[in-house]
Symmetry: C2
């Protein structure tokens, strides 16, 4: 069993990420990590909650961490952006 | 010592919440919880990260939880909104 899958949360509709999450757990992997930065952070929370409440009642949040990443912008400078990781697992 | 303070994160500029956080820790309280819903979730992460990185290097994240809240809207129906709580403490 593959140990861990990572889904990067971007600007797509939240259901795309819910579907990606469920697809990963069908492979099966033991853990899926949602990674998001900036405004996408709230979408990552939405994806985890929608997956759990509507489709996978046995989904569990193993841990949530936050941090700051320095991202180079178009002008060659770096800007600090908040990041979040949500680690999810299926409770058997 | 007051045990826990709660700051609700809304639509104001993020530095308002950073200031509120630092004000609470000067009282002093042992823990401050940031609570946010929907789009404000990323602002709560920003507030915690800015406070830690710029002003309070001894700030620690004790725990982060996510959930879903049913909020009544103007039409009398309820909509589900993601929520997050970040519990912070000063490491002495």
């Amino acid at each position: 069993m593959e140990d861990n899958a990572v889904i990067f949360i971007g600007d797509k509709p939240v259901m795309n990420y819910v579907l990606a999450l469920m697809t990963q757990f069908n492979k099966p992997v033991s853990r899926v990590t949602l990674k998001a930065r900036g405004r996408s952070i709230s979408r990552a929370v939405d994806a985890a909650e929608i997956a759990k409440n509507r489709f996978m009642p046995n989904l569990r949040v193993l841990g949530i961490t936050i941090g700051t990443e320095a991202i180079p912008n178009d002008e060659g400078r770096t800007v600090n952006v908040s990041s979040m990781e949500i680690v999810l697992a299926k409770h058997e």
